[in-house]
């Protein structure tokens, strides 16, 4: 089966080459036989890539250590779930996994559009085929998971202990699903540019795929944050690491696109900008891949330095130049007689939103690449760490959060002063009320107050929109509260799903502000029976009493665990157990450095975070105990955002949508224009 998989990889290369060649030839010569052949070849590319992937999974599960990849990332005693996820744990396997998703997306794009966009689709299929071909070639020649060793080891090296975590089993696929999905809008953009069809169905197709990419990137990024938090032990979830930044960049530009596309749909404006954002999002995902896989920028999350990085650099440069050339020949086709009646309008708000999103993306990219630039220019690498990113992106993030609330309050075309007063009154008041209440409770941190003030403003905006919409439905259809709420969202998923996403963003920002109250706690040394007392940021006194150390073996590791009996102001809390682990192979030989497992007590107000730093002697553990305010709300915010994304993406029957648009039109105008 492994051999079949290996051979399939090579056949997939031929299929992808065929896909590109005949699709483009078919598009150019307008020959439907070639076009159909190209589409079938796209399906075949996916099928053969799938067989290659099954071959690799087979090798992983049968412990075929003659493969360098299998012996490097698995061992006989690795639990099955991690043997499965080892597929994407290393450079070569993850390249194949990426290609599998890419070819799958290509096949789905062809399948969904087999009766639509007939003039454009050959170019889309050809472009998807070309990108897939690049990935297949890079996999086969630079990072081949089927590469064999000269000898067969008795056991493999095993999987890095930090990757033996449920978050790591899910997080990379989610990110890959998101990253790779950016290729589809890019392919559609190329097709639209070549055929000069940049409106109508193209917009719908690109929007759908961009949403899918955004959805998976959101989940992937939040899962990555969660993994870093529970696994790395530094009690934070975002370090502005180059690899983290790489995942954020396409998310930011993709989010900008999902907002600016609305202006093109409603007003036919911003065509050039939208195409630029689609292309930029794809190129940033390739740049991120280059950063992650080349070893050019050091990161704890990066794959080892590899030749594959050069492939991505070459591809990135070629794609940038060719796309820029193509766009430059189509500038006239993208010109629109744009009109904007007022700076205070929904259209203008989207422009400001795009400016800030792209501004954050630029600042993040700039900070990520600056160490390379500084080394190149003055032969000295300058570290650009968290302080820079926090200083620059925090004010921009706050501005973005404010725009999240302002945008929905302003009417399309032009907002009257009376309308603005009516719409803004309650949210602004509630924002100030939030600040006043927090100040009365003793909060004095300037940034935190700004965070919560703006959060209050945006949350009220969203609530106000729901209240108005539900009220209108209840008046018009005499529906109950629950029915009106459900139908309001169900019949205008895009708008109200978007508000749910915005609410998730508010929750996340409110949680981020919790970091302002975090304190540094010194390391403590505890023997059995010792107690450490600490006061948390909310003023509660916590006692941690050591129950001593226990040592035992399990599955593939030796564990040293410390149990803590915990109470808060004398009230017993659940016990906490932090671990240090030493993994071993089937012959009981130690593998990898010792790793740790953090003990976390999650509560609404804060997490109690206990990290087992080390041992002073055989009986004394060194612990780092932290109180991390509001962290659980980061994950809840992420879940709300993903839920909102599902609402927005959920297909809506066209007939129903049209009917609803007609029946809601007067009310809709009322809400927007404030008549």
């Amino acid at each position: 089966m492994t051999l079949v998989g290996e051979l399939s990889l090579w056949v997939a290369i031929l299929m992808a080459a065929w896909t590109t060649t005949v699709s483009w030839a078919g598009g150019y010569q307008r020959r439907s036989d070639l076009v159909f052949s190209g589409e079938r070849a796209m399906y075949a590319t996916f099928a053969f890539t799938m067989v290659a992937s099954i071959g690799l999974w087979y090798a992983l599960f049968t412990h075929d250590f003659s493969l360098r990849f299998v012996s490097s990332y698995t061992s006989r005693n690795l639990p099955s779930v991690y043997t499965f996820s080892a597929f994407w744990a290393g450079q070569a396997g993850s390249m194949l996994f990426w290609t599998l998703i890419l070819s799958g997306y290509g096949a789905l794009a062809v399948l969904f559009n087999r009766k639509r966009l007939r003039e454009m689709m050959p170019w889309v299929t050809g472009t998807m085929g070309l990108i897939t071909l690049f990935f297949l070639l890079a996999t086969a020649f630079a990072a081949n998971p089927f590469e064999r060793l000269d000898w067969v080891p008795a056991d493999g090296r095993g999987l890095n202990p930090q990757l033996q975590n449920p978050g790591m089993a899910i997080h990379p696929p989610m990110l890959y699903f998101g990253y790779v999905a950016t290729a589809v809008p890019f392919a559609f953009a190329i097709g639209a540019l070549i055929t000069r069809q940049l409106d109508g169905e193209w917009l719908a197709a690109v929007r759908r795929w961009s949403l899918l990419s955004w959805f998976f990137l959101t989940i992937g990024i939040v899962l990555g944050m969660w993994w870093a938090y529970v696994e790395l032990g530094w009690s934070g979830y975002w370090a502005w690491d180059p690899v983290e930044n790489s995942s954020l960049l396409p998310w930011l530009t993709g989010t900008a696109f999902l907002h600016s596309i609305m202006i093109q749909e409603k007003r036919g404006m911003l065509r050039k900008w939208n195409v630029t954002l689609v292309v930029l999002t794809f190129l940033l995902s390739i740049l991120g891949t280059f950063i992650t896989r080349s070893g050019v920028i050091e990161s704890v999350h990066a794959f080892a330095q590899s030749e594959v990085g050069w492939w991505f650099l070459g591809f990135l440069i070629a794609a940038t130049i060719l796309t820029a050339m193509l766009v430059s020949t189509r500038l006239k086709d993208m010109e629109a007689k744009a009109e904007l009646e007022s700076m205070v309008s929904r259209e203008a708000a989207f422009l400001y939103n795009n400016l800030v999103l792209v501004g954050i993306a630029f600042a993040t990219l700039w900070g990520t690449l600056f160490p390379i630039l500084s080394e190149w220019v003055q032969d000295e690498k300058i570290t650009v760490g968290m302080p820079f990113f926090n200083s620059v992106n925090t004010p921009l993030g706050l501005l973005l959060l404010a725009l999240t609330g302002i945008g929905p309050l302003i009417a399309w075309r032009r907002a009257s002063t009376a309308n603005l007063k009516r719409q803004f009154l309650m949210p602004v008041v509630m924002g100030f009320v939030a600040v006043a209440v927090l100040m009365a409770l003793g909060m004095r941190h300037f940034y935190a107050l700004v965070f919560y003030g703006i959060s209050g403003f945006v949350a009220t905006t969203i609530t106000q929109e729901f209240v108005k919409g539900i009220g209108a439905r209840r008046r018009m259809y005499q529906e109950g509260l629950a029915m009106a709420s459900v139908r309001l969202v169900a019949r205008n998923r895009r708008r109200y799903g978007g508000y749910v996403v915005h609410f998730g963003v508010v929750v996340m920002f409110a949680a981020f502000a919790g970091q302002f109250f975090k304190k540094d706690y010194a390391q403590v040394e505890l023997k059995e029976g010792d107690t450490y007392a600490a006061v948390d940021p909310w003023g509660h006194t916590w006692n941690f009493r050591s129950e001593g150390l226990s040592r035992y073996n399990t599955v593939n590791r030796n564990v040293t665990a410390i149990s803590l009996v915990v109470d808060r102001d004398g009230e017993p809390m659940p016990p906490m157990v932090a671990e240090r682990r030493q993994h071993f192979d089937a012959s009981q030989n130690a593998t990898f450095e010792p790793s740790t497992e953090v003990a976390i007590l999650e509560m609404a107000g804060q997490d109690v975070y206990v990290f087992f730093s080390g041992m002073l002697d055989a009986d004394t553990a060194i612990l780092t105990i932290n109180f991390n305010p509001l962290v659980i709300w980061v994950w809840i915010g992420g879940i709300i955002m993903a839920f909102g994304g599902v609402i927005v993406m959920w297909p809506q029957a066209e007939r129903r949508e049209r009917g609803y648009a007609a029946e809601m039109a007067p009310q809709h105008e009322e809400v927007l224009v404030g008549a």
Binding site: A138, F141, A142, L232, G233, W234, S235, A239, D241, M269, V296, E298, S299, V300, Q305, E307, V308, G309, W310, W311, L313, G314, I317, I321, K337, A338, E339, L340, E341, S342, M343, A348, L351, L355, V356, V358, G359, F362, W366, G367, F370, P371, W376, V377, E380, K381, I382, T383, V384, G385, M386, P387, F388, V392, E593, P594, T596, F611, S613, T624
Partner: protein, 203 residues
């Protein structure tokens, strides 16, 4: 016939040709230095910083001040954390505990925070600082994001001005069309005055 031990295999040749040549042609030398300087994650990045203790040293920094100082220092390993966070949480990193040792040695030797930073800078250069300096070449890292944002804002302002003018012209054109259809007789001068009045109104 056996291949010579130095022969390049076909696969290797293709691999290098397909990837490296275009990259080298298109980005000459930009990244060569960086790649060669990359060290694997388990590498040792520590460089000893051990200036002599001052005569009759007086300790000027307490534990909190040391933590605050270490918060401003970047661990040279790829963890992207500061020295304090890294040494207290990354059990595999040997660099941050060693640098912490040097810091404590300097503190006990009578050095204050600025002097410690200076000593570290002499050995590691600017990369030891978690945050770039706000002077010299490093100033650019702080300046550029806001410059880019200002440029973007300016571009939007110019665009919006054009679009607003388009809107005004379009309104005027619609009025022109309407006037023509209902057959109102007006001189060119009267039409110009009407359009000017409308423009003022729409502003």
């Amino acid at each position: 016939m056996f291949p010579s031990p130095n022969a390049v295999s076909r696969r290797s040749f293709l691999r290098r040709g397909a990837a490296i040549v275009p990259a080298l042609v298109m980005a000459p030398g930009v990244l060569q230095g960086q790649v060669s300087s990359t060290v694997n994650m388990e590498g040792n990045y520590y460089l000893p910083v051990r200036p002599p203790a001052k005569p009759n040293p007086v300790v000027q920094l307490d534990e909190e001040a040391v933590i605050a100082l270490e918060r401003t220092l970047a661990c040279p390993c790829p963890c992207t954390l500061d020295i304090y966070t890294c040494r207290t949480t990354d059990v595999t990193c040997s660099n941050s505990p060693a640098i912490h040792g040097d810091v404590i040695r300097m503190v006990n030797g009578g050095y204050n925070a600025d002097e410690i930073l200076l000593e570290l800078d002499k050995v590691y250069g600017q990369r030891i600082m978690a945050s770039p300096a706000k002077s010299g070449f490093s100033l650019m890292v702080w300046f550029m994001p806001f410059a880019a944002l200002a440029t973007g804002a300016l571009a939007i302002a110019l665009l919006v001005r054009t679009w607003r003018q388009n809107a005004v012209n379009a309104t005027a054109a619609r009025v022109d069309g309407g006037v023509g259809r209902i057959g109102v007789q007006a001189t060119d001068d009267e039409m110009a005055r009407l359009q000017a009045a409308l423009r003022d109104d729409t502003r």
